[in-house]
Subunit: 124 residues, 2 copies
Amino acid sequence: MTHETHDQPSIAHTPDPESSSPGQGILSLDKAQRMAEFFGVLGDPNRWRILSALAMGEHRVRDLAAAVEMSESAVSHQLRILRTMRLVSYRKRGRNVFYCLKDDHIFNLYREASEHLDEPPEMD
Amino acid sequence: MTHETHDQPSIAHTPDPESSSPGQGILSLDKAQRMAEFFGVLGDPNRWRILSALAMGEHRVRDLAAAVEMSESAVSHQLRILRTMRLVSYRKRGRNVFYCLKDDHIFNLYREASEHLDEPPEMD
DNA sequence: GCAACACCTGAATACCTGTTCATAAGTTAT
DNA sequence: ATAACTTATGAACAGGTATTCAGGTGTTGC
């Protein structure tokens, strides 16, 4: 085992009591599943375009669709997914529905990913 | 206190010169695509289990496979994807190949997602 | 050399995902 | 009430993805 005696508060730790794994520090199937579901939602370019539009302020579904150049139906489907993951919230006003980003987590995730992607190729 | 009409280097801004969009601040198709590709890699539970194993220190492919209870072939395929996204690096030692996490971005992403997922249901 | 070992790769298959299309539900205006 | 409008939803289809299986490369040890 070549791991230092340092207590890093991260993945290697399993605070979940429900872990059914060997208990080595590997993510439980359940936690891994939830992680994957969450990041999977961010694994679609159109959802990022929708989120980036909402980052500018709240939008109606219709305007959103126009902005990202998608059908309203497709946008509505995607918004449902984003709602499920609590990435967006909405308020109804008459026959319109205004969506907006729910919290700042998405900003941090964007920034972190962006930094990673902007790193030099570091030729192999 | 989040953001107003300030120049925040975030989603709403498009520093990419190649943007073919209306220029409203929506992510360019290219940037959105790269974001999606990156997060898509994190959209698989088994890859998270591999990453969490590597968070404990470097592992051979074989041991990794045993740890996450996958076939060596499947793990090798996944490692290739993780390598492509520069999430892991490796060193060859004889007939063994030791993999480890490349940088700390994955830790921050994990933490951010975990915080988000741990937020209260906030009943609608 | 030859066999065992560790890892990688390509093709095939089963599964999941996102869009479109048609339709329904709810709201506003005439 | 009827028509126009905005959004939501379900089924179906196309495209993408992860695994398995079979085979390949390179290394260690007899």
